[in-house]
Amino acid sequence: MSGSPFSKLKALAFSGFGIAFVAGIVFWGGFHTVLELTNTEAFCISCHEMEKNVYQEYRNTIHYSNRTGVRATCPDCHVPKEWGPKIVRKIQASNEVFHKVLGTIDTPEKFNAKRAALAQNEWNRMKKNDSQECRNCHHFDYMDYAEQGRRASSTHQRGWQEGKTCIDCHKGIAHNMPPVDQSIGVGKAGAAIDASAQPATPAQTAATVPDGRTGLDASSFGALKSASGK
């Protein structure tokens, strides 16, 4: 019975399938474990770029510490939960590994010089996916406006009606803001223009001070900024 060549082939096929199946589980389990390991706060701040800059800023905010102890850590906001978008984001992260090797932002000075561009990247990403990472926890549909403060209640309802998304207003909630030109004093070098402040009226510069003191212009302000290490 076991001597027939057909049954031998069958046994081989079954055992081959079995081995592949088990290997698949082991491989997938290993892959998933490593992937999730890179999705933890501890992994993120194992790079001093993250630990010394954005992590310190995040430590002061409500997503780090709050009354209930429910937290949103780095990947909760910066990595999508769904498998497809998560893999896409993880592949894009190889660019971040590349710049880690290059040392593009390895000092606070370098980091702050790039802060505006880095922040804008994240704002664009969240604008594009309708602030998906916020809405993984904060659902517009399930907000009880009666429980919110008067400002939050009216602003959220208006924003919802106007089709706005979380990141349109809630910028800089977990990290320091990059320079934003709010038309106060002299201009800020490399600052994003505050688009929602219409019409843009440039603030008077020190050149208009009557006693003729030469004030700082935007470029010397920028030089001052980088000199002070901020």
């Binding site: 905010t61 008067r150 602003t155 800089g172 709010q182 106060i184 019409p199 009226t201 008077q204």
Partner: protein
């Protein structure tokens, strides 16, 4: 002679007694700081900022208006002023917030700007949020008649 001895003895007794008295019962000053040594930071009281309220009345004429809402995590840095994100004149139509006073537009040289002067950049130097905290010491202050 005996009188002199007695007098000097008395003098010694008076002069000697004073430091002895001070060492026996040191004067304990109770300050608002409590008994925390100067090189230690006392524990912060657990007060929560008032979340959200209507504008609060003023108690004296030149009082900077109080902030009737929580300002947790609001950044006022070289890069960004969160207060002016709602209270700046260009923003109040949308935000419905109180406009910053036009008195804040003058520089120290008397030049009128179109927005707050950098002199007034740090809002919380004068404007403060509120908490449900009792006064540390009692007082009999009452708002001026015109403000009651």
């Amino acid at each position: 002679m005996i009188k002199n001895v007695l007098r000097s003895l008395l003098l010694v007794a008076i002069l000697g007694a004073a430091p002895v008295y001070a060492a026996d019962a040191p004067v304990r000053v109770q300050s608002l700081r409590g008994e925390t040594p100067i090189d230690k930071t006392p524990d912060a009281d657990m007060y929560r900022q008032i979340k959200d309220a209507k504008p609060l009345p003023r108690d004296f004429v030149q009082q900077p208006p109080l902030i009737p809402h929580s300002i947790r995590d609001y950044q006022v840095t070289m890069n960004f002023n969160k207060c002016m994100d709602c209270h700046g004149w260009a923003k109040t139509r949308e935000s419905g917030a109180t406009k910053v006073s036009v008195t804040h537009f003058k520089t120290r040289d008397g030049v009128e700007l179109s927005n707050i002067s950098p002199l007034r950049y740090f809002c919380t130097q004068c404007h403060v949020p509120q908490a449900d905290a009792q006064p540390l010491v009692g007082n009999t202050f009452r708002p001026g008649v015109g403000l009651q």
